[in-house]
Homo-oligomer: 191 residues x 2
């Protein structure tokens, strides 16, 4: 239920904002961290209002409603931020595939892993580009944005290195082509 807290947090940062404003921030700053669609966001703002964690502080043109966090909202947000343990992201598409890699020929599996290594390396380079374009900015938002960026840099590097290593592991474990099978069978009587 983190969208709730993301919205609360953005309102706390901004002081006040409309659903439309928040949507803009979600699509810019939080796109890679916690994406949200418009329908979700407006629904959540409605619920937050009902729960009295936010309130409408102004109504402007085009039906615009400016929201701000209430005292209860601020409290709820800080509790979430510091007290509640972050939920670990359990599902991992990549590792699920790795689990099944034994079902295809080793060469195909190695190819798959090398592709993943390349994809992560690409991601790393992309983030390096973002990093370079960020050196000028200042302020607390930039400080914490940089922490998140560094996480991405380290993660993509780790994953790229891991995938390269994994492909090598498979290459060593099974030297592959049919010609070598006989050798293997002669060398090791069982399994």
């Amino acid at each position: 239920m983190s969208l709730r807290h993301a919205a609360l947090g953005l309102l706390a940062l901004r002081g006040e904002a409309s659903g439309y404003d928040l949507l803009g921030i979600f699509n810019e700053s939080l796109e890679h961290v916690w994406p949200a669609t418009q329908s979700q966001l407006y629904t959540e703002l409605g619920k937050l209002t009902d729960a009295e964690l936010v309130e409408v502080v102004a109504e402007g043109g085009r039906g615009r409603k400016a929201y701000a966090v209430t005292e209860a909202g601020r409290k709820e947000f800080e509790h979430w931020l510091l007290e509640e343990p972050p939920t670990v992201n359990r599902r991992n598409d990549l590792l699920l595939r790795v689990f099944f890699l034994g079902l295809v020929p080793s060469e195909r599996a190695q190819e798959f892993l090398r592709e993943r290594a390349a994809a992560s390396a690409d991601m790393h380079e992309r983030l390096r580009g973002v990093e370079r374009s960020l050196v000028t900015e200042q302020g607390s938002l930039a400080v914490h944005g940089r922490l998140a960026l560094e996480w991405g840099l380290r993660f993509s590097r780790m994953q790229s290195e891991w995938a390269t290593w994994a492909a090598e592991q498979l290459a060593e474990a099974e030297p592959a082509p049919a010609a070598q099978v006989a050798v293997r069978q002669a060398a090791q009587p069982s399994e």
Copy 2:
């Protein structure tokens, strides 16, 4: 929609299995990679049967139905495994919190990051334990299980190091309590 493919893959590995059997595997081997509940799994097996990707190959006592993948199922599975690009896991609870860390005093934020570093270090140790208990096992499942384990080891180490680094960044950026500012400046010119 990866539960579908996880079920397909497990059936391909096992040859044939009941929903109950698969549930056991999900709760043991795939718990940290792709958890599934019983209701989800039985529902999915029903859908897979309707789609003719799996079929009931035997019925046993206690209403047991043994499923096996069909030719179409095998094809669909291999397509997913090798052709479809793994979807990146976009939502990240931890980074979302980091984004908002500027809303609390720097000391609290540093505390938060150090806690995260400790939690990741714990995770790392836990996985090292699993690694040690795995050295005896053989077979292709163990080979690919080890690849996934190594990913976990590298990930937890990376995250622990990152959190430690991030806490230090904040400590440097805002040397905090006014009294100590002078001391720090005198003691260490930079970095």
